[in-house]
Each structure stands twice: as C-alpha cells, then as structure tokens.
C-alpha cells in the first residue's frame, strides 16, 4: 500500500501557543480516516498546513512523496469549513470557477453530483442554507479527481437527510487510488463511515487505531472509545 499523506513530527506555534505538538500521521491509499477531537484540538490547523496555507515550524509533510508546494496542491481537494465562495457567485459560477482553476475538475461529475445532492445550480451561494452550502462544497470538492480529499467538518450543523446524502457521496468517492481525511467532532455521525480514526487533543495525536479493531477488540463503538480516551487524558 502506498502512502498518500505523511506528516512527521509536525509542530506549529501561533505566537506562544503550541497548536501542533509533534504530530505524526501516515495515511495509506484507499482508506477513510477520521480526525476526531474537541474544538481547538488543532484539526483545522493540520488540514491547513497540509494544504500549505500554514507553514510548520518544524517537521515534514509529504503528499505522495511530494513536499508541500504547488505540485502537492494539485493532489489535494479541500473542503473548508467556511463559505469560501465569492458572494456574487451562483452555484453555476462556482462550478465554472473551479473548472478554470483545476485541470482535474470533471464537469460531467459535477452535474451528476448536483442531481444526486439535489443542488439547484441557479441559487446564489450567499443565500444557501447551511445544509445546501455543505452539499455544494461537497459537490465541488468531489468533482475533482485527486489522491487526497481533505474534508473539514463536512457534517457540522447538517440535517439528517442531507447528512445521509453527503455520507453516501463520500462512500461513492472512495477508490483504491485515493484517500479521504475527515475532520469532525461529531463522532456519532461518522461511526459507520470510517476505516481508521485519529484522536487529536491539544495538538497531539493521542490515539490511532482502525474502527474495526476498536469494535472487535474493545467491544466499543468509536464514540465509547472516544469518551474513554478523552476522559483519561
């Protein structure tokens, strides 16, 4: 199995505050991994450093063997947890914008996903509800064909129906070539979704295991295991 993402002793400070404390992550291809932890654990910071938006103070990140740079960015599709689309855009504008920006953007796939996720391409991105916006962002992120998908809180504040659709789309996206990293604190919602979990607390990876292993060996759900690990920190 080849490694898609590797982070080696990644450390990052904002001023005096240590936000990433010697983080080690290795993601093989063809897996869905959950980056789980409370607010402020450093989940988004990890995604942002992998994206190259922040630079590590020390440590290394490689994506398919490439160091962070313009080459590595082509390998990643990123779903931020904010609305990053220009306020004047309609969904169709956003699709055009993405297809101009990314050579790997598949317009046919975008159409498919719009139908699947019940997105109206004429809506304005500013007037979308939270659930609609998240579906639009998923559609944009998954219309690209890349090795690594980074999803930052794709399920936060989403109603159960939209959630189900989004989870189905995530399942359909995974193939043996790519890997998906999902950051979330909604442990319960991703219970059946994940292959592997990483628990992050105060900038440290405090626990890493496969979901089946947790269920098989500990007889626990991911949520139980999460509670146990975090109560004993």
């Amino acid at each position: 199995m080849s490694v898609i993402l590797s982070v080696k002793s990644g450390t990052k400070k904002f001023g005096r505050k240590l936000v990433l404390d010697s983080v080690d992550i290795e993601l093989p291809t063809g897996r869905i991994t959950g980056l789980l932890g409370p607010n402020g654990a450093g989940k988004t910071t990890i995604l942002n450093t992998v994206m190259g938006l922040y630079r590590l103070d020390s440590g290394e990140i490689h994506i398919c063997g490439e160091a962070i740079g313009y080459k590595s960015k082509r390998l990643i599709s990123y779903l931020p947890d904010t609305n990053h689309l220009f306020s004047w855009m309609r969904v169709s504008d956003a699709i055009h914008y993405y297809s101009d920006m990314f050579p790997d953007f598949d317009a046919v796939r975008a159409k498919e996903l719009c139908t699947l996720l019940e997105i109206d391409e004429r809506s304005r991105t500013q007037s979308l509800s939270k659930g609609e916006l998240e579906r639009v962002l998923i559609m944009l992120a998954f219309s690209r064909k890349v090795r690594l998908y980074l999803l930052d809180e794709p399920l936060g504040g989403i109603d159960p129906l939209s959630r189900k659709k989004i989870i189905k789309t995530i399942f359909a996206q995974l193939d043996s070539e790519s890997t998906i990293l999902i950051s979330t604190h909604l442990v319960k919602d991703v219970e059946t979704l994940l292959d592997d979990v990483l628990f992050l607390n105060k900038g440290k990876v405090i626990f890493a295991d496969s979901a089946d292993h947790i269920r098989e060996d500990r007889g626990q759900s991911i949520e139980d295991c999460y509670m146990e690990v975090f109560e004993n920190v």
Binding site: F171, L174, T192, R215, S221, I222
Partner: protein, 118 residues
C-alpha cells in the same frame, strides 16, 4: 440498515447476507451484486463491504470467479451448515436465557409448545 456500533460492521453484514442465503432470498448459485453496488445498498464503506465478502468467501458461502462476479455457493452441505449455525445460535441463547431465569426443562418444553400453538 441500522448497525450496532459496538460490533464490527462487516460481521453484521455477513450475518445479514447469511440469513438471505439460508432463507433462500439469495438462491443457491445466484449472482451477487458487485461490491460497489452492495456497499451502496448497505451504506457502508467499500473496504467494509470487501472485508465482508472476503470473509464469506473464506467460509465457502460465496464463490468469486475472477472477472465474472461472485455467486452464492451451490453446495447444499455448506448451506445446511449455515442453517445449523444460525438456528444453533438462537436455540443456545434461548436456552441459556431460560436457564438463567431458573426454568426447568419440562416447563421450557411446555412453554415452547404453547407458544407454537398460538
């Protein structure tokens, strides 16, 4: 489908498919959907579905022919063994439950007979 989050999901899928095989909903020799279609239907990760299928194959319940697809076994012995395994599990858990409640054998028999007559 609802899953029990404290047990491995692939095992729960195996149980479900075995039940379909035993009841004949999936007939002997019938072709299974592709792993991708199944994972869509069961709403699970592709890896989970693959693991479930691999396990069923190991147990002989399904047979995969490369490039063609997976099929339910036509071996009656294996299907009977599956039946025994599933009914055995139910009977065992029933009996141990009743014994825990302190019921003697003859009363358990009576209760079953009564329940079946209903």
């Amino acid at each position: 489908m609802k899953y029990n989050p404290t047990a491995p999901i692939y095992l729960q899928i195996i149980e479900y498919l075995k039940k379909d095989i035993v009841t004949g909903k999936l007939a002997a020799g019938a072709r299974l959907d592709s792993v991708r279609t199944l994972s869509d239907r069961f709403e699970v990760n592709l890896n989970t579905m693959q693991r479930a299928c691999a396990e069923l194959e190991k147990q002989g319940a399904i047979i995969t022919q490369r490039g063609i697809g997976s099929f339910v076994t036509e071996d009656k012995k294996i299907i009977t063994a599956l039946q025994d395994e599933m009914s055995g599990g139910l009977v065992d858990s029933f009996i141990s439950g009743m014994q825990d409640l302190g019921f003697p054998e003859d009363i358990i028999f009576d209760l079953i007979r009564k329940a079946l007559k209903k």
